[in-house]
């Protein structure tokens, strides 16, 4: 095997890590370096220190410890049958890189994942050692996200949770059949059990202990997971159903959707095309509807023909167009739940409407000043001096709204 420099290894092992979408560095416990005299802080919301031309935020040093792997998952660049160059960092090298980058304010912390070499425990053990050295020897107070290997032992998971802010296990694909087909060595049952165990640990440690009455530190940033979109045939409804199940069952902070992307040296088992980025975007929007807008999962696509989200319009507008009987909503009287369902009104706008209308009745112009696109909102609300009349039920409404909105589209 060739001997690589740290820079060459960094090239290989960051290239190998980029298909993991998660980059969040938020939602952990507050920490700062004044008390420890070390380096690093977390203050609730994370910071994106740079952006790559793919539009993704760079917040963490996202690398693999090694891209050698005994698994052969066809969607993965690091599968054992792939011809990509292989490299392996030492624990020391990862610690140095993290500290050097952090001190220069390039990153919020480390997201460490790994191919599985030899045994799950051996690999997990090295990842935990990186985290331990950062926290104990370097007094590092920044963010640490460790990818957890489902088959690793309970003691290692316990340690991982002590040093890391967040742990994650990827479900990879929305259905067990998909996993069996594309990642034949992975066991969906084990993945579920590991997530269940993580939730139990996180809840258990959140309770003060009997003796010290202190809370033990265990992954204060919770757990998350990732699903690949477009590598198998699961519909959006099926994907969202899997997400709703995961949020409910394992209290995940986030489910990440990653549009299946062509990889260097790809497998013949998979379709090769550009990643379905718009589909991925719509899934995130629908995910938001479930988490912040009071939608239940089955509602989002109820009444659609094929269980797929409309790519041309956002899922809330699509839902509203299918449920026009619930509109118009009176912005001066409706409750928060009803306002949250109006297309074009986000959570912040709704809160401002609620606050403002305690003092004055809102006219359409007022709503227009609070939100981005009044064209989208107008057919679905009544306001002082404004009623949409027959507009709400107009046949061509979808076209009327989409045209002015297209300019604002993200892509």
């Amino acid at each position: 095997m060739a001997v690589f420099s740290v820079r060459e290894k960094l090239a290989i092992l960051s290239d190998a890590a980029k298909y993991d979408a998660s980059c969040a560095s938020s939602g952990s416990a507050k920490r700062d370096s004044l008390k420890s005299g070390g380096i690093g802080s977390t203050e609730g919301s994370g910071i994106c220190h740079s952006y790559a031309p793919d539009g993704r935020c760079i917040s963490l040093l996202k690398i693999l410890l090694t891209n050698f792997c005994i698994y052969d998952c066809s969607y993965c660049i690091n599968r054992s049958s792939s011809n990509v160059p292989r490299a392996r960092f030492s624990v020391e090298e990862v610690v140095r890189l993290t500290m050097d980058f952090y001190r220069r304010n390039y990153i919020e912390g480390l997201f460490l994942s790994s191919g599985v070499i030899r045994s799950p425990d051996e690999t997990m053990g090295e990842m935990v050692e990186v985290a331990r050295r950062l926290r104990i020897e370097e007094k590092f107070g920044g963010y640490i996200h460790l990818k957890t290997i489902p088959e690793a032992s309970a003691e290692l998971i316990e340690k991982a949770g002590r040093y890391a802010d967040r742990l994650s296990i990827n479900v990879e694909l929305p259905t067990d059949e998909g996993v069996k087909k594309l990642a034949p060595e992975k066991k969906p049952e084990t993945i579920r059990l590991s997530m269940a165990e993580l939730r139990r640990k996180i809840e258990e440690k959140a309770e003060p202990t009997l003796q010290s009455r202190k809370r033990e530190r265990f992954a204060p940033g919770g757990q998350s997971t990732q699903m690949i979109v477009g590598a198998d045939k699961t519909s959006d409804d099926g994907i969202l159903r899997a997400s709703a199940r995961l949020y409910g069952s394992y209290h995940l902070r986030r489910v990440y959707y990653s549009a299946f992307s062509p990889i260097p040296d790809s497998s013949a088992a998979l379709p090769l095309h550009n990643p379905p980025l718009m589909r991925e975007h719509r899934l995130y929007q629908a995910d938001w509807l479930m988490r912040f807008y009071g939608f239940s999962q089955p509602e989002i696509l109820a009444g659609s023909n094929d269980g797929m989200l409309d790519l041309a319009i956002d899922p809330k507008l699509a839902w509203a167009l299918r449920n026009r009987g619930r509109f118009p909503v009176d912005v001066n009287r409706a409750d928060r739940e009803a306002l949250l369902r109006v297309p074009g009104l986000g959570t912040k706008v709704v809160d401002r409407i609620l606050e403002t209308r305690r003092h004055r009745r809102l006219r359409l112009e007022d709503v227009g000043r609070l939100c981005h696109s009044v064209a989208k909102v107008r057919p679905f609300i009544t306001a002082e001096g404004w009623s949409p009349g027959a507009l709400t039920d107009k046949l061509g409404l979808r076209q009327t709204i989409t045209r002015p909105c297209e300019q604002l589209s993200l892509f």
Partner: protein, 488 residues
């Protein structure tokens, strides 16, 4: 420095510096209590050559000036904005607040819109400074220092310095900007005068590694230049060591992505066959007939992969019965709940706790009885972070009866206790009215006696304390009867 037109104003306020909030506040109090309207006031930062003093009247003690606390906080943010009109604008807001105390809540008011957009600009600039400051290291060992050059849009160095202290307490660092600098020597923060780009180091060896990372974490198949520029506008690029790579990455992206798609899949890597043979040997061909388990552990193992109904899809695992194979009595519940699904054990959640404590009072040792469920996967509807229990249907109960029958077959208890309607339906083969049959002992055709009662979760659902206690007592009476029947 931008100056406001002074010609029409009858009062001139001179502030010490760009973010002199105390000075603004003092002047505003004097002006407002003396009823001097915003049109009559001009604001300026620093002193003219003539060094004329402020000619402001003293604030009047007989006039109360009350403003929402929120206004002070927001004004402190907005005063950091680079707009030279901000002092006057804030005074105008104060002027209106005297007669419109709720003004700040009226988000649709044009002045409030402006206030918000100015706050937002300052906050965004503050955030972007935290993101885009790039330190360069100079010196080693005791001489090691980190120096950055940054160009903010607004006057934010002072309000942002604490963030860098909290984050980099263990380092000696300096942030230079055109109007001010912040310096931390490991113990003390000092705000100093502005500097020039040349005062900061020109390079740092770590930047080559950082650029390598930036190049390789980028996925050329997902090019979204607008999304990048929205969050990282070009004005910041000149001070970011990674930004000079961007044009080439964009130019080469299409080629790189097309190449990835066009390239034919290659044959498996040379080491692949060895890895496969070592870690994933082909399993021995399975026996044609699955041997039927003759004990509970074997049965549990068989049931772990159960696909007799679709409930396995959403559940974490099969929750099989638990207890000695020699038990005299088998308690049958409905189905596992949230906690049971996670733990893989029956009756460990809230209902299980009620059940345990009542068994204890009835002097039944849970370790000596067998506890199981009619349906062995959790059926639920997800609602946010909760799972709402759904009742298993007749088909699911029937499918899972396969396992319950086998458990009863192996254990051969002299009594089964049906906890609730689902258990009774499974044990008796038909739906029965629990309220009417509660406390009855029914003999099945195979001779097994079935005692019918409620499910302990029923007690949990009662709101009224007295009713709850009464129901608990009834259940305890039932369990005492069970204790007698066990002995019989």
């Amino acid at each position: 420095m931008p100056r406001t037109q002074l010609s029409l104003a009858s009062h001139l306020v001179r502030l010490e510096n760009e973010i002199d909030f105390a000075g603004w506040r003092d002047a505003a109090r004097r002006l407002a209590t003396n009823d001097i309207p915003p049109e009559d006031v001009a604001w300026q930062v620093g002193h003219d050559d003539d060094n004329r003093a402020n000619d402001l009247p003293a604030s009047r003690q007989d006039t109360r000036l009350v403003v929402p606390r929120d206004f002070i906080e927001r004004a402190e943010t907005v005063i950091c904005h680079s707009d030279p009109e901000r002092f006057n604008f804030l005074y105008r807001l104060l002027w209106r607040l005297r007669v419109e105390p709720k003004l700040l809540s009226i988000a649709s008011d044009p002045h409030i819109r402006r206030l918000e957009s100015m706050e937002k600009a300052v906050r965004r600039d503050t955030h972007k400074m935290r993101a885009f400051v790039r330190f360069r290291k100079i010196g080693d060992g005791a001489e090691e220092r980190y120096v950055a050059w940054f160009e903010p849009d607004h006057f934010i160095v002072e309000r942002n310095a604490d963030f860098f202290v909290r984050r980099f307490a263990g380092m000696r660092w300096t942030i230079l900007t055109p109007y001010a600098s912040a310096d931390w020597d490991g113990e003390r923060l000092a705000i100093g005068p502005g500097a020039g780009k040349r005062d900061a180091p020109a390079e740092d060896d770590a930047e080559a590694l950082w650029r390598t990372y930036f190049e390789n974490i980028f996925n050329p198949a997902r090019l979204k230049v607008k999304a990048m520029q929205k969050e990282m506008p070009k004005k910041y690029w000149r001070n970011l060591p990674e930004a000079s790579l961007i044009p080439d990455l964009i130019a080469g992206a299409d080629r790189a992505a097309t190449a990835m798609i066009a390239r034919m899949p290659t044959s498996p890597a040379p080491h692949h066959a060895k890895v496969k043979a070592k870690h994933w040997p082909t399993p021995e061909p399975a026996d044609v007939v699955e041997p039927e388990s003759t004990d509970i552990p074997g049965l549990r193992e068989e049931a772990s992969g159960c696909r007799r109904c679709p409930l396995w899809r959403d559940a974490t695992q099969t929750v099989f019965g638990e207890g000695p194979e020699t038990a005299d009595v088998v308690f049958v519940g409905e189905q596992p709940g949230d906690q049971e699904d996670l733990a893989g054990k029956p009756f460990v959640g809230p209902a299980g706790k009620v059940f345990d404590s009542i068994l204890d009072q009835a002097e039944i040792d849970r370790r000596k009885v067998y506890v199981t469920n009619a349906v062995k996967h959790f059926k639920f509807e997800p609602r946010g972070k909760r799972r709402i229990h759904s009742k298993p249907n007749a088909g699911e109960i029937r499918a899972c009866r396969w396992w319950l029958d086998k458990e009863l077959d192996l254990i051969k208890p002299n009594l089964a206790v049906a906890l609730g309607a689902t258990a009774a339906q499974s044990l008796l083969g038909k739906a029965v009215p629990i309220t009417r049959m509660r406390g009855d002992v029914i003999q099945r055709e195979d001779g097994l006696r079935v005692f019918v009662t409620i499910h302990p979760s029923f007690i949990l659902r009662i709101r009224e304390h007295e009713d709850k206690e009464a129901e608990r007592e009834r259940f305890l009476t039932d369990m005492r009867k069970v204790k007698q029947l066990m002995a019989a």
